[in-house]
Symmetry: D2
C-alpha cells in the first residue's frame, strides 16, 4: 500500500493546464536566457496583476536560489538581512545566504511572524549600541507570506513593517514561496497589488503551486542594475528561460494561480475541521495549507507507517509538533483517509 502523502507541496509534476502549454510550445524555436517573447509576455501579465506596470520580473528556478540571489543583489558587503527567528533563510537554506557573504540577523523572540514592534525595538537597540559600526548593518527585512508556520500577516502588519523599513531605509523583501495559498485563504487581507505597493521586491512561488519548478521575482520599482548577470553568476539563469515563463504565463491566465491555491486551501480547511473534530491539539492556528498539530511521540511513530509527513520540532516532553501539508494536487479522499486515521 502506498502511504498517504502529506509531506510537502512539491510532490507532483504540474497543473494539467501547464503541461498542455508546454506541449503546445514544445517545438517553437525561441531565443535563450529569457530574451524571448513569452518571457516578456508572462512578465507583463504579472506586472499588470500586481499593479506595477513599470516594474520588472525575473524568473528563477527554486526558493533557496531565489532568496540567495535577491538578498545578495540588494545587500552591500557589510549588510545583513533581518528575519524572524524561524525565518526560512535563518534555518533551512543550508547556509545559502552566508555563502554569498551575508549574515542573517534573527530578531530574538519572533518565532512566527516578524512584527513591526519587535523589529523597531531590535533596530533601536542596534543603533544605540556603542560599537554598532563594528557589527553587520541591517540592510533588508525578510518576511514570508504565509510564514513558515502558515500564518498570514494582516494588511496593517505589513504596512507597519513598511513604515519601519522607511524609517530605517531598509529593503522589504517578501518571500512568497506559498503565496498562492495565502491569496486563496478567506482570512487573507494582502493582495498582489498590496505587495506591489508595499514590498521592494517579492516573489510568487511556482514550485509549490502547480509549476514543475519556478519562482517569479517581482520588482515593483524595477530590478537592480544587471540583476540577470548577477543571477547567472549564481547559477540562476536557465538557458531555456521560456520554459519557466510559459508556466507562469499559464498560471496567470484565468487566475489559475489563485485557483490552484484555492484547491489547497479548501482541502486544508477540510483537514483542519477534521482534525479539530478528532480533538487534535493545534500548535498554532494556521489559515493556510500547512497544519501543525501536537501528538504523543508513540502516535507519531505509528502514524509514520501509513502517512508521509514531517516531524517539525519537539513540543514538550514526549510530544512532537508534526506538519501536514496539502496542495493544489492533494485529493479529497486522501484528506478524509488521513482524518480517519487519527
Amino acid at each position: 500500500m502506498t502511504k498517504l502523502f502529506f509531506e510537502n507541496d512539491y510532490n507532483c509534476g504540474c497543473a494539467p493546464q501547464i503541461l498542455k502549454r508546454l506541449e503546445k510550445e514544445n517545438m517553437n524555436s525561441r531565443s535563450g536566457y529569457g530574451t524571448d517573447e513569452i518571457t516578456a509576455a508572462a512578465a507583463a501579465k504579472i506586472l499588470a496583476r500586481t499593479g506595477t506596470p513599470g516594474g520588472d520580473v525575473y524568473f528563477a528556478e527554486g526558493g533557496t536560489q531565489t532568496n540567495a540571489i535577491v538578498i545578495s543583489a540588494y545587500l552591500k558587503s557589510y549588510e545583513g538581512v533581518v528575519s524572524a527567528e524561524t525565518g526560512h533563510v535563518t534555518c533551512h537554506e543550508a547556509g545559502a545566504i552566508e555563502a554569498t557573504g551575508h549574515k542573517v540577523l534573527p530578531v530574538p523572540g519572533e518565532v512566527d511572524k516578524l512584527t513591526a514592534g519587535a523589529l523597531r525595538e531590535y533596530l533601536k537597540a542596534f543603533y544605540a549600541g556603542s560599537s554598532c559600526d563594528h557589527m553587520v548593518q541591517p540592510g533588508m527585512v525578510y518576511i514570508s507570506h504565509p510564514t513558515e508556520y502558515g500564518s498570514l500577516y494582516t494588511l496593517q502588519e505589513l504596512q507597519d513593517l513598511r513604515a519601519v523599513c522607511d524609517t530605517y531605509r531598509l529593503v522589504l523583501f517578501v518571500d512568497g514561496a506559498r503565496l498562492g495559498y495565502a491569496l486563496a485563504a478567506p482570512e487573507n487581507e494582502i493582495t498582489l497589488q498590496d505587495l506591489g505597493r508595499l514590498a521592494d521586491v517579492f516573489y510568487i512561488g511556482g514550485t509549490k503551486l502547480g509549476a514543475l519548478f519556478g519562482e517569479a521575482i517581482v520588482f515593483p520599482k524595477g530590478m537592480p542594475a544587471f540583476f540577470p548577470t548577477h543571477a547567472k553568476q549564481h547559477g540562476a539563469m536557465l538557458a531555456k528561460g521560456f520554459v519557466t515563463a510559459e508556466q507562469f504565463d499559464e498560471l496567470f491566465t484565468d487566475d489559475l494561480y489563485v485557483k490552484l491555491g484555492g484547491h489547497g486551501i479548501e482541502l486544508a480547511h477540510r483537514l483542519k475541521k477534521g482534525l479539530a473534530a478528532k480533538g487534535c491539539r493545534f500548535h498554532l492556528d494556521s489559515p493556510t495549507n500547512q497544519q501543525f498539530i501536537v501528538l504523543p511521540d508513540n502516535e507519531v511513530q505509528s502514524l509514520h507507517e501509513k502517512v508521509a509527513f514531517e516531524d517539525w520540532e519537539k513540543a514538550y516532553a514526549g510530544h512532537t509538533v508534526i506538519r501536514f501539508v496539502v496542495s493544489w494536487s492533494t485529493r479529497e479522499e486522501d484528506v478524509d483517509a488521513l482524518i480517519a486515521l487519527l
Copy 2:
C-alpha cells in the same frame, strides 16, 4: 517571415519521448529533493552506461550552475581551476567561478584544446617560481568535450591529461554540456566508459541535448561528502528533483541521448559539406554541432537579417568569425535554406 535559427542548441522544449514521460509521471506523488526512486533509477542507468556502478550521480539544472558547484566542491580556498584560454569557465560564466572565491587559471596560448604538453609546461613553470606559495595553487583541470569550438579530444590526449593530473595530484573535470554531439560524431574516440575511467568528475549535458533543462554530474569514484548540501547551498537543488531525473531516465532509455546527438551531427555534417561547397572559409575544422566560418563584415550584417546566429569574435580586418549551431531539434530544410543563402 521567421528567421532561420542557428543561434544555439537550446531553442526548443524537449524531445517528444521526454515530454511523454513527463505527462505519464505527472500526477505520481514523489518525495522531494532527489530522494525519490526515479532519481535513484536514472542514476543507476547512467552509472551502468559509464561503467562505474560504484559511483554517484547528481542532477543539476544548468551548465554555469554545474560548473560552479563542481569546481567549488573540490577546490580548497587557496586553489584555482586550470583551463584553456577559451575555456567556458574562463570567459562565459559571468564570474560564477570567482563568485565562489576561486580563480580560473588560463594556460596561455591554449586557444581551443588544453593539451597535456602545455599543461605540463604551465605546471612546471608554476612550481619552479620562487614565490609560488604566494599564488593560487592549481587544484583542478577543466576541459570540455567537445571544446568551445566544437573540437574533440583524442583518447590519447585525454589519457595524457589524466597522466599530468596524476603527477600533480589534480582533479580532472570534463564539462560535457554538448557531450551527446561528441558521442555521436564519427570522429569521436572517447566513450562514456572512457570518461568514467579517466575523469574524476564529468557531466552529461541535458539542456543542449533534448531536455527541458538539466545536467547529470557523474562522480565515477563517488561524490565529495555532503555534495547535495553544498549544491543546495548554491541554489542547485530542485524541490522536484524527480522532474530532472525523469528526463535523464528517458535520455538513457534506448540510447536516446546518443540518437538525439546523432541527429544534430548528421545535420552539422550536411551543413559543413554545404558550406564547403559554397567555398566558405572555416575558422577551424569542427567535427561536431557547432560550425565556425569567417565572413566579411558586410555579409555578416546582411545575413543577420534572415538568420539568427552569433558573431563569435573578430577574425581580422573587416572579417568576423560567426557560429552556426545545429541541434537535436534542427530541421533538414532549414540547413538547406541556410546553405542556399550563403
Copy 3:
C-alpha cells in the same frame, strides 16, 4: 583633564621590553613573509611552552582576522562554526565569518560559556532533525578563554567539550585574545599545555597583552596544508613578518606574557575589591581583567564624563551593564581614582 581610561585593553603601544627589542632588531635585514629566523625561533619557543614541539605557529595581526582565517581554513563549504550566543564571532566581527561564506551557529541559551551539556543537546537535536542534510553542518566549536564576560572554563569543562568534539568529529578552536589574563588569574585551571593537548587550534593574543599588534595561532598537530597561502589570500600575511615574531619572541622570554597578564589581574582584583566595597552590583563574577557592573542609567551618564568605559548591554528598566577593562598598562592610581568616583 584627561579621562580615566577603562574602555579596553588595547589603548597603549607595547611593553617596554618589546619596544627595546624592535629597536635592537630595527636595521637587521631579514627575508619576508615569515620566512626569517626570528619567526622560526619565536614559533619554536611557543611550541616548547605549549608542549607541542611537533606543531606549527602562524602569526597574524588581529583578532577578527585570526578568527576569520582559522575558521575558514578548517570548515568545508557546507559547514558552520558552533558558538555560544554571546561568542565574539557571533556578534562582534562585522560579519567577518559570514564574509568567508560560513554561518555561525549559536547554541541557544548559552549566554556566557558554551557548556558541553548544552553543546551535546544542540548536536543531538540537530542530527535528529529530519532535514538536517539541508542545513549548515556543524564543523567546528568556537570558545574563548576567558569568555566575552571574562569567565574562565574549568579544566573539566574544557575536557568535556573535547569529548563532545571527539564524538561528533568537530574541530575545537579556542580564541585566546585575552589568554594572558586567564593564565595569570589565580582561579585559572587551564595551562598552555592543556590547550596544546585539548584544542585542535588556539591563539595566544598579543594585541591585548602588550604587543603593538599580533596574535600567535598555535596548531598543536600541525597547520592545515597551505595555511600561509590561505592567510595571504585573506590579507593576513605581513610582508615584515619578523616584526610580529620579534614581539612574540619577547613575550615568551622570561615569561613576560604571563607577567603582563599578572599586572592586569592584580589591578582587576584591586578594582573588583574596591567596587565590592562600594556596594556595586556585579553582572557576573569575573576573575579576569574585565569587570561588569550594573548601574542606574543616570549614574552611567555622569560617569562617562570622567571615565572612558563601554556600556555593555541593557540590564533591566533604567539600568545598564557597564564594562571596566584593566590591562598590562593600567596604573594603580587610576584604579584607585575610579573606585573613588563610584
Copy 4:
C-alpha cells in the same frame, strides 16, 4: 658571511624617525580602531598634501589586504577589475581578489603599463560582444605607479586613463605600494596632487617605504559608506589603529616619505649606472627602485650564493630575468659590492 640583500624593499624595521615616534607615544592612552586623534591628524596631513581636504583616509596593514578591501568595496557582485596582464592583483595576490568574489580582467598584451589605448580597445570589444551581459562587467581599472616592473606612467598617460574611465564610468584605482620611489624619481611627472585629482582612490604604501607596516588609502572624494565596517569584516582594522597612524604622521612630517624614497632612488641610479658600466643587459628601462637584468642561468646560479635577489621570469633559452631591489634602508657599500660582483 651575510649575503648582500637585494631581494625586496621590506627587509628592515622602520625609519629611525618612526621608531622614535613610536617610543614617544608608547604609553599614551588612545581610543581604539582608528577613532583617536593621531589617526585624524595623520589623515588631515595626507589630505592636505594630496590637495584633497574634503577626502578621507583609511589606514590598512599591507598591500594584498588593501587591494582586496578597496576593490571589493567598490565593485558590485557582477563586476570585475581591469588590470594589465602583469598587474600585481592579476598574479601575486594568492587569489585575494577572487576570494572576495570578483574576477580580475587582464587586458591582453599589456605586459607592463596599462595604456589608455589598449584599455579603450578592450572595453570597445567587450561591449560590442553579443553576449556581454553574460560576462563579468568591468567596474574598476587598477594600475600601480610604479608598475610591477618599476616603470612610471606619464601625466598624459594617467590623464588618458582617467578619460577612458570617465567615458565608461569606471573607478580608477592606483596602487602606490612603492609610490615614494616614484615621487622621488627625477623622471616622475605625477604628483600626489595629480593622484588626488585623477584617481578615485589610491594608496600610499608604507610597508615598502620605511614603516614597520601600513598603507594609507586615500579617497579624494570621500570613502564609500561604511568602508571601515567593510574593512573590519575583512580583517583589516587594527585595534591599535594609532600605531599605523603615528607612522604615517611621521612619514608626512618634513616630507620624510619622499626623502626615504629619494635615498632608494639615488642608490637605484647608482646601481643602474654600475650595471650598465658592466655591460649588463636590462630587461627594460626602470627609473625606480627595482632593476631588472637578464643573465645566463649559470651566472644567476652562482650569484645566488652571494646575493639575495629574486629570479623574476624566464627571458629566453638559458637566460633569466632577475630583479634587484634597493630601498630606503639599502647601504651604498652594498650597492658597490653588488656591482663589483657582476
